[in-house]
């Protein structure tokens, strides 16, 4: 697992209070990990903070699974 993927999953475990094993690439934040709309906003904010970037709202709306988040951040992260 890439360094970015590890950090992304750590944030998800922390914010959503889920088990690490549940945080698979295919897992959907809302359908599989119990996130509501406020949780997903918080996750995006945490990603921005952790990776020192700003994720535009229209991009954020397309990030709905763990794998999509990792892919987006691997492409855009500045760290």
């Amino acid at each position: 697992m890439s360094d970015i993927a590890t950090r992304v999953k750590k944030i998800i475990v922390d914010k959503l209070g889920v088990e690490e094993a549940e945080v698979t690439n295919e897992a959907s934040f809302t359908n599989d990990l119990g996130a509501d709309s406020l949780d997903t906003v918080e996750l995006i904010m945490e990603f921005e903070k952790e990776f020192n970037i700003s994720i535009p709202d229209e991009q954020a709306e397309t990030i709905t699974t763990v794998g999509q988040a990792v892919a987006y951040l691997e492409e855009h992260a500045k760290v």
């Binding site: 914010k15 959503l16 209070g17 406020l38 949780d39 906003v41 918080e42 904010m45 921005e48 903070k49 700003s54």
Partner: protein, 417 residues
Amino acid sequence: MQLKRVVVTGIGALTPIGNNLQEYWNALINGVSGADFITQFDASKFKTRFACELKNFDPLNYLDRKEVKRIDRFTQTAIISSDQAVIDAGINKDNVNVDRVGVVFASGIGGLITFQEEVVNFAKGDGTPRFNPFFIPKMILDIAAGHISMRHGFRGPNFAVVSACASSTNAIMDAFNLIRLGKADIILTGGAESVISEAGVGGFNAMKALSERNDDPKTASRPYDKERDGFVMGEGSGVLVVEELEHALRRGAKIYCEIAGCGATADAHHITAPHPEGLGAKNVMNVALEDAGMKPGDIDYINTHGTSTPLGDIAEVKAIMDVFGEQAFKVNISSTKSMTGHCLGAAGVVEAIACIQSVVHDIVPPTINHFTDDPELDSRLNFTFDKAQQRTVRAALSNTFGFGGHNACVIVKKYEA
């Protein structure tokens, strides 16, 4: 329309001197002080470095990690004490009509700690707004009532009540009125407060409202002592399950007491100072007695607002002398804030619980920390100094007053069929 009778059938308490009803009552009648040095933040530069904090309180013992992060401390205490009260009352969503079970819940300030954290966080940044999406729903004062209803599935009337340090007495009054008017079968009511933070302590310090007795925190809350120098901030939560009498009898509920009457008035005088003659306080006791259909001679115990401030204690006692006349020398008076500190928006319910237990057990909890008589107070008054006193307590009256000049009073009495 015949008003219905209202009884208390469940109690929850999370206080600086006990984390449930039994612990709280034992501490009250044994004269335990809840004051100590502040642990929740570094208070070394503050004029007041002590408070009555909750002890051995870990929200993770009651709530999961995700809940703890998205729920402010005041709401955490509200949820925990309401769980206790619901269990004590033996109610759940399957044995009551959930559409007729409400939550009327108070706080004086709400999520000040959350507000402080979020604003400090923003101020440290470069101006880019990065507010947490849970900021507002975590901070707002009414969210405690919302969380309690969600946790238990109670769908009746649901709202918050605010009148600063009178808040939870006003909440009890609203709950009492809803039930006696037949608008609900059961209401969970009470209040919660937790503002022992830089903003909370700093704000009250700036008003010179807090005791600064840093060399002896445990004796700092000393209502009616000549050397009193301000209140000691407390925190916590209390919950009453108030229920329509026939409903309680039908389900065989344990009945602690009956709520006899309530009152609410304003000083219309000053934002923070009490009326010097205790006018609003006098009126509120008269209104409550009239509502209860009682005379001063029917009251055996007055749990005062008695915050340990120089002006407030005097004004309230003047009001008691006016309302009770000669009877003032026959009642027991005490300020349990000498032990719990001033739990602000939760004070009313925490003290109503002291009154209820007093009526149940025929014991009056003391005013601790008495060292020097105040010559301005009539020495014939019985302030129940230092030791609990046993006596028959047919009825007890609880006063609470809030910044803004709000006064609220509730009277509880022994339940008789």
